[in-house]
């Protein structure tokens, strides 16, 4: 069973001179699967995450394609239909837990707010369940009467994660949940998520610009470039056999703690202007492998068992490996 199934999704910003932020994205997230979505700022990864949860807000709008969540069509569902599904089917954790928590409500009140919206629960039942999920992310239940400003950034982010899992959703979307945090705090959250997975069944869409973090946590990584998925592979094979030149460049930009010092390389150039999409491979201007043909026609997305790839040059290598 799949929890999310997207077909040919397009999301634009604006009407007059629209920016085509997400283009022709099809993807499936299986039940209990951890999927990573990685790319540079502006590649459309957050836009896609918000659109899946149908939390896109004007000027963003879905212009084509379908979104199905747990077999139900969400593409055109209105707010009233979606309200009971939020937190119970799909929950979201944003970059900064500080923005996600209400500053004038105690932590306990925020848990109660979410839980009482979605079921007949007593105050006591709410408190017990809140304490239970807080414990899963290593936060003592003594924080329940506290207010967000009394907690550190890392604690707030873990409270936001606890809040996301409290109603046992089938999918959690996390948008750069550790980007504003210190390394040690990021590590704790990473370990919390691995532990949570052992205790509770849920699928995760983890959005980040850090491919190393993704590869460590998730089962499968989707690489996004300029609004399109350019590669999808199991994390285990991607680390040693990346195919798309952009994935390779991202890996080269990443320092590997297990190898002796190697100069991390940047990716020269900039992503294209999404107002006008050329009929060509969008990565070609930055690509060391680009061939004349790459500038003449957009490469199709091709599937090879567990690999999906949008590159006409490196797809020739696929057979050699598999």
């Amino acid at each position: 069973m799949s929890i999310v199934h997207l077909e040919h999704l397009f999301v634009d910003y604006g009407r007059l001179h629209p920016v085509h932020a997400v283009r022709d994205v099809s993807l499936t997230i299986a039940d209990n699967e951890f999927v990573g979505l990685v790319g540079e700022s502006g590649c459309g990864k957050s836009t896609l995450g918000f659109a899946i949860a149908r939390l896109e807000r004007p000027p963003a709008r879905i212009t084509a394609g379908t979104i199905a969540v747990a077999g139900q069509d969400w593409t055109t569902a209105d707010a009233r239909t979606l309200r009971p599904e939020r937190w119970t089917k799909v929950a979201m954790v944003l970059q900064s837990g500080m923005n996600a928590l209400n500053p004038i409500m105690s932590i306990e009140a925020q848990f109660r707010d979410v839980m009482m919206q979605h079921g007949e629960m007593t105050v006591e039942q709410c408190r017990r369940r809140a304490a239970e999920v807080l414990e899963m992310v290593e936060i003592p239940s003594t924080v329940l009467p506290r207010y967000p400003h009394e907690l550190s950034g890392g604690m707030k982010q873990r409270v936001a994660i606890a809040l996301a899992i409290v109603l046992r959703p089938k999918l959690i979307i996390m948008d750069e949940p550790t980007t504003a945090l210190d390394m040690v705090v990021q590590r704790q959250i990473l370990e919390n998520l691995k532990q949570l997975r052992r205790e509770q069944a849920f699928a995760l869409l983890f959005i980040s610009h850090d491919l190393g973090l993704e590869l460590e946590l998730v089962d499968r990584v989707l690489v996004m470039y300029a609004g399109e998925i350019v590669e999808s592979q199991p994390a285990r094979t991607m680390l040693d056999h990346p195919f798309h030149p952009y994935t390779r460049a991202l890996l080269r930009a990443l320092p590997d703690p297990e190898t002796p010092y190697a100069e991390p390389e940047g990716i020269p150039g900039m992503p294209p202007d999404l107002h006008e999409i050329p009929q060509a491979c969008l990565f070609a201007p930055r690509c060391p492998l680009a061939e004349p043909e790459c500038l003449e026609a957009a490469p199709p997305l091709k599937s090879f068992s567990e690999l999906t790839l949008r590159c006409r040059v490196t797809e020739r290598e696929v057979q050699h490996v598999s």
Binding site: M183, V184, L211, E216, Y261, I267
Partner: protein, 333 residues
């Protein structure tokens, strides 16, 4: 290192006096001593609240130390503008109303007393130095027309405009995409190699970026130096438990694929440390009786590095590895 000292920090301590209801004084930096040498990029590593930015600000003179002093070597004490800062957030560090031309010519006119025409000419040179070419195309732009990486280059060019001896780079790449970080770090290194600045203090929370830039690093924890070592030595064999924790925190997919546990349990206990004991004791997996009572001092190890840890010092004299000798704590408070 036989190189010439540029500036020496001696026992720098900065205490922010408490005020208001929560009147606790905060010791942001405690007896920080180091020498910054010519031709060196020195890394200052720690988490938020470790005092790394405070030390950077003390070096620039924006903040005055509560006690302790900075000794500038006469060869490098050029006075006004001798230290310049590169800030973390290139989106906040540039005035959005000013074109780049204004941002770059102002320090040239104010600090180097150039005429407007000379300043404009020099601004073009600076833009070329930070690889924003052709310069005339960038002079007329305002910050919102530039990408994050380009803005950070402008911030670096502005810092260079005052002809500083030392640049304090405070998390210069943490807000940038991974794909453009390497280029900004390479630019900083190039400034050093081409002699544009005598030395750089590189402040970061990311050990891996220090690896690609700094020759030597100071690891800070709650305002104290806990380990000082050559970057290669530190990463090959981190000794202080906090340094080990930082190292273990770096995302490492290969270790995860092998199913290995973290080399050291990572803990973020917020329990306050005892007033006299080691500040790291509440989070330390090796904590001993002595750690609760007296704060360790920075002691040299045989390989020349400095470590401030009772357990490491005790075991180093027997040639043992602290992580194998120390008893892991079984109960968490």
């Amino acid at each position: 290192m036989s190189a010439e000292a540029v500036v020496t920090a001696q026992q720098l301590t900065k205490i922010y006096a408490g005020h208001g209801k929560r009147g606790d004084a905060v010791v942001a930096a405690h007896e920080i001593s180091f020498t910054l040498y010519a031709g060196e990029i020195l890394g200052l590593i720690g988490e938020s609240g470790s005092g790394k930015t405070t030390i950077g600000r003390l070096l620039t003179g924006i903040e005055k130390p509560t006690t302790g002093s900075l000794q500038w070597s006469s060869a490098f004490a050029s006075g006004h503008g001798q230290v310049q800062m590169v800030f973390q957030d290139p989106y906040a560090a540039l005035n959005p109303f000013n074109p780049i031309r204004y941002t770059l010519t102002r320090p040239l006119i104010n600090f180097r007393h150039l005429s407007p025409a000379e300043a404009l000419d020099q601004a073009r040179t600076l833009l070329t130095t930070v690889q924003l070419t052709p310069p005339d195309q960038f002079l007329v732009k305002r910050p919102h027309q530039l990408s994050g990486g380009q803005r950070q280059r402008i911030v670096i060019a502005r810092a260079l405009a005052a002809s500083p001896q030392v640049i304090v780079a405070d998390e210069p790449v943490s807000m940038l995409d991974v794909s453009i970080r390497a280029e900004v770090l390479q630019l900083l290194r190039k400034l050093m190699v081409t002699g544009q600045v005598a030395s750089i203090l590189y402040i970061t929370h990311d050990l891996m970026s220090a690896r690609s830039l700094a020759q030597r690093v100071i690891v800070l924890y709650r305002g104290r130096m806990v380990e000082v070592a050559k970057t290669g030595d530190l990463l090959a064999n981190p000794r202080h438990p906090y340094t080990q924790m930082l190292f273990a925190s770096i995302p490492n997919p290969r270790r995860a694929f092998r199913g290995e546990a973290l080399p050291i349990p990572v803990s973020g206990s917020l329990a306050p440390s005892s007033a006299t004991g080691c500040p790291f004791a509440p989070r330390c997996p090796w904590v001993e009786e002595a750690c609760q009572q007296t704060a360790p001092r920075l002691e040299p190890l045989p390989d020349g590095r400095l470590v401030s840890c009772h357990v490491v010092t005790r075991t180093a004299t027997d040639g043992q590895d602290a992580s194998k000798v120390a008893q892991p704590r079984t109960t968490t408070p």
